[in-house]
Symmetry: C2
Subunit: 254 residues, 2 copies
């Protein structure tokens, strides 16, 4: 590796009965993971918990202490089940206040819309005291940043636009580069070869992800490293070994 | 409610660098959640952690103590990154042994296939001492049950077939019934109405899930209860209130 670099880590807390009931398929884990990787921050843990103030507050305090960054998704809308702001405030031991800029944003957003800025909509201007805002280009109501905690919407499109607004603003390390090689090999046939290739290349991790497609077994082998050249060289080495073993490697994966 | 019933809970531990890197979209959370609900067991927590023996073992011990059941997915294949069995054994403080029945299953499965039962494939017969097997109708290598911990494959199709094999075998309570009512209402317009409806019907929880579709705002309101009749009555009540407020309710959701 090109020198040791500090490894930055983040946790993601998904707040949502709808995910735990199986009603809604989560889409935030993957998009937050990819965004973090781009910033050289490793997603080190995800938790999904119910809409419960006590559990949210306790989990926030555990995760914000254990990682450089904590992201949360869900529970910041205008209805009675939106309790994330109160839970975060409880975690930090601060009161909830109406943020004057958030109020202005909502006044502007709802000007001319039926009903205007109702009491329910004004709930979306509430933040834990001391918090900053994360812009929300897609639907007005902002996200919230307090210390190392980033509080975002649960609707994936809105969470995406909040991530977009944060792009380039977080300190991180080197992004992890990954090189994928696929083959129509049952992974059990190439297990030794994978182990040897990983052992011969300190600084890389090789993951093996099997599948069954078109009536045949196959696997994708993902080589990850902070050192892009090393990942590339290891990928070439793995491809050669697969070819020697009688499997045609497919760069980029199957 | 028709009498209080004991609430059974489960946690799911997803073991997988590929999920945390964003490379793979998780599909096991939703399918395990739905399967558990069918059995009257509530999925109360999900964690996604990296392929790290120490972290897996510690998390397994935390979650198996806190819930009636713990399910894990991922890391039980034949390659060097498949470390779940070792981690579970470490969590229970028992050695890893080759399970004679699992060995027979694999011998049978690989008879006549190229290579036969190689050393790598035999790794899939390793279990923590004292464990039972979970049949795997789709690809031979079985899952593992030890005390209240159910260890399943990460490939969603294989995890599904292991769940299928477990259907009807776990003790649970009353399944949660959910009734969904949708409306082209911005959720901030109906926040009071939702809060009142939930408060007037003890034993139900109402979730509000907004969306933006076809250029218009809308939301689905999900009423959940162990009492199916109560959920249905509350859904009817909510529909009436939405209609009074000028929104056409859509039973079953939008």
């Amino acid at each position: 590796m090109a020198g040791e670099s500090r490894q930055w880590t983040a946790a993601l807390l998904v707040i949502g009965d709808e995910i735990l009931s199986g009603r809604t398929q989560d889409k935030n884990v993957a998009q937050v993971a990819l965004w973090l990787n781009h910033h050289g921050i490793r997603l080190s843990e995800v938790r999904i918990i119910p809409d419960d103030i006590g559990r949210i507050a306790a989990t926030v305090n555990e995760l914000r202490a254990a990682h450089d960054y904590l992201f949360t998704t869900g529970g910041i809308g205008p209805t009675h089940d939106d309790i994330t702001v109160d839970a975060i405030a409880a975690a930090f031991g601060v009161p909830v206040v109406v943020h004057p800029v958030a109020r202005k944003i909502l006044e502007h957003y709802y000007r001319g819309r039926p009903g205007g800025l109702t009491d329910a909509r004004l709930l979306m201007a509430r933040v834990p005291q001391g918090a900053e805002l994360i812009p929300n280009p897609s639907s007005g109501a902002p996200g919230i940043k307090i210390e190392n905690v980033y509080v975002m919407a649960g609707v994936p499109g809105i969470a995406a636009s909040m991530l977009e607004a944060l792009t380039g603003k977080l300190e991180g390390g080197l992004p992890i580069v990954s090189v994928t090689v696929g083959a129509r090999a049952p992974e059990s046939d190439v297990a030794d070869l994978l182990r040897e290739t990983e052992a011969a290349n300190p600084g890389v991790a090789i993951g093996s992800y099997p599948f069954f497609k078109d009536g045949r077994y196959g696997a994708n082998f993902v080589i990850r490293s902070e050192d892009g050249d090393l990942a590339k060289r290891t990928g070439d080495e793995l491809s050669s070994k697969l070819r020697e073993a009688g499997y045609e490697p497919v760069e980029g994966g199957l």
